[in-house]
């Protein structure tokens, strides 16, 4: 991807921003999701409501927060409440439209592992754990996942299911009775994956310059390719300018290749 005039992080961030609708209530994490939300607010979704698991609602951060509890999230926010309230009155109650998720592993059915590589009781690699993601994955109306496309990140089945995608099939998630629709799009540096009618992640779009064989090579199961494979819209200068000049001028999150 060296030839591209943008980084993988910029590519993913802009494609994630486009998934947001004006008026959406988004449960935001730091890093790329935060940038994506702020970008959407400054482009097509001026009425986006950003809420944070720390209990901040309607945040308008004046600087890029390094932590999910940065004081800039509070100054100028419309409301602050306790963590119990944010998880119960907002998320569990169904007041959150969109959740962003990430993890060390995403499997064929969109299940996420952010807990452990290897055996839970004797961890080979101990990851941070759920934080808020177990509930976000279940109860936000729509979930989006942002992750670099690498084979180790896309196993056939997660070592540990921290957050539910479609479990073993869409029918299985439906039967569980959780309120959210599950992971609707996985944004990677190669393209977009979306669940098919059975809940299995399928390649539905490629970014400009990316190829199906790259996706196949970097996915841990024989991935289905949509019959009508789309190409994502090219990044616009305006989107890139807002990201680079206004939102992350030091390139804290955008300089990385993802």
């Amino acid at each position: 991807m060296e030839a591209m005039p943008y980084t993988a992080s910029e590519l993913m961030c802009i494609n994630a921003a486009r998934l947001l609708q004006d008026g959406d209530v988004v449960f935001v994490g730091v890093g790329l999701p935060n940038l994506a939300c702020n970008l959407a607010r400054r482009t097509h979704a001026p009425n986006l409501q950003m809420i944070y698991e720390a209990g901040v609602i309607g945040a308008r951060p004046a600087r890029i927060p390094l932590s999910i509890g940065d004081p800039t999230l509070v100054s100028g926010a419309s409301s602050v409440c306790s963590m119990y309230d944010i998880f119960s009155f907002y998320l569990q109650r169904g007041n959150v439209d969109v959740g962003f998720l990430g993890g060390a592993q995403i499997d064929r059915f969109g299940n996420i592992n952010a807990t452990v590589i290897g055996d839970y009781a004797k961890p080979k690699v101990r990851l941070p754990g759920s934080g808020g993601s177990q509930e976000i994955a279940a109860w936000a109306n729509r979930c989006y996942i942002i992750t670099p496309h690498q084979k180790r990140r896309f196993p056939e089945k997660v070592d540990f299911c921290t957050s539910a995608g479609f479990l073993g099939s869409r029918a299985e998630r439906d039967a569980s009775g959780v309120r959210g629709k599950g992971p609707l799009v996985v944004v990677t540096n190669l393209g977009l994956l979306e669940p098919d009618e059975n809940g299995e992640l399928m390649l539905t779009a490629l970014h400009a310059g990316c190829r199906v064989d790259q996706v196949r090579e970097n996915t841990g199961w024989p991935i289905k390719i949509a019959g009508q494979l789309r190409q994502t819209e090219p990044l616009t200068e305006r989107e890139l300018r807002i990201l680079r000049e206004d939102l992350d001028p030091q390139g804290i999150y955008l300089k990385s290749g993802g």
Binding site: G129, Q134, E135
Partner: protein, 300 residues
Amino acid sequence: MSKVCSLKEAVSAYVHDGNLLYCAGFTHLIPFAAGHEIIRQGRRDLTLARATPDLIYDQLVAAGCAKKVIFSYIGNPGVGSLRIIRSELEAGRLEWEEYSHFGMISRLQAGAAGLPFIPMNQTAATDLEHNNPNIRRVTDPYTGREVVTVPPLNPDVAIIHVQRADANGNAQIWGILGEQKEVAFASKKVIITTEEIVDEGVIRSDPNRTLIPELIVDAVCCVPHCAHPSYTQGYYDRDNVFYLNWDKITETQAATQAWLDEWVYGVKDADEYWQKLGAETHERLKVSPAFASPVNYGKY
């Protein structure tokens, strides 16, 4: 009745070997100075509970104070992993008990409310439930569907940093509230550290702002800058540089030990620690004022 004492006295009186300790705060108001005092006093076999262990518990574990952690997210917020806790867990040298954030704070909510459990809706992700016998189920008596439950968490002692409190322990917090109120009510003993001790008239002019009432507080310690490298909204900024540095310091045991020697064992108290940080850091963490709009309670 005044409960004012030094942090040294409060830790000595209320934090004992083997205790279940909860240092409150979600990124905001983390009482680092209290953690350092516990290290200096050499407590052992503590069970450390926090939604996000953050650097404060990484430091307590590094100093050998802990035998177990109870948590829902073990990361260095915004940076990456907590190297000390992670390596102790991977080496099997530290016990642990794990929840989602909502599970963790629901335990506190149950503990604060005097309830034997709190229900949560199902999430369909059951691996944690299968690995933690504290997570159970009951059948909703109205729909017949199952809900997930957690039991109360009632720490032996909570340490909670606040912007201002009166000498009796009525404490006010603004900015991110995290789980402070729930931890205070759930715990058997409560130590308040505060940026300022104010006259009770200040507190009583705005009772809706009081998150923690004196009747559940055991000690009030005036500890300015207690939260560094975390922050106190309106008083000083978060020291992101330190959060990034900790990731490097903890790459080796030697560097970690050297840091503890210099910044914890090598200083007497929070004042000396803050002075040692130096004028440049003080300047970097300064915040210009932005006041809340006035609110009239009326004289009745």
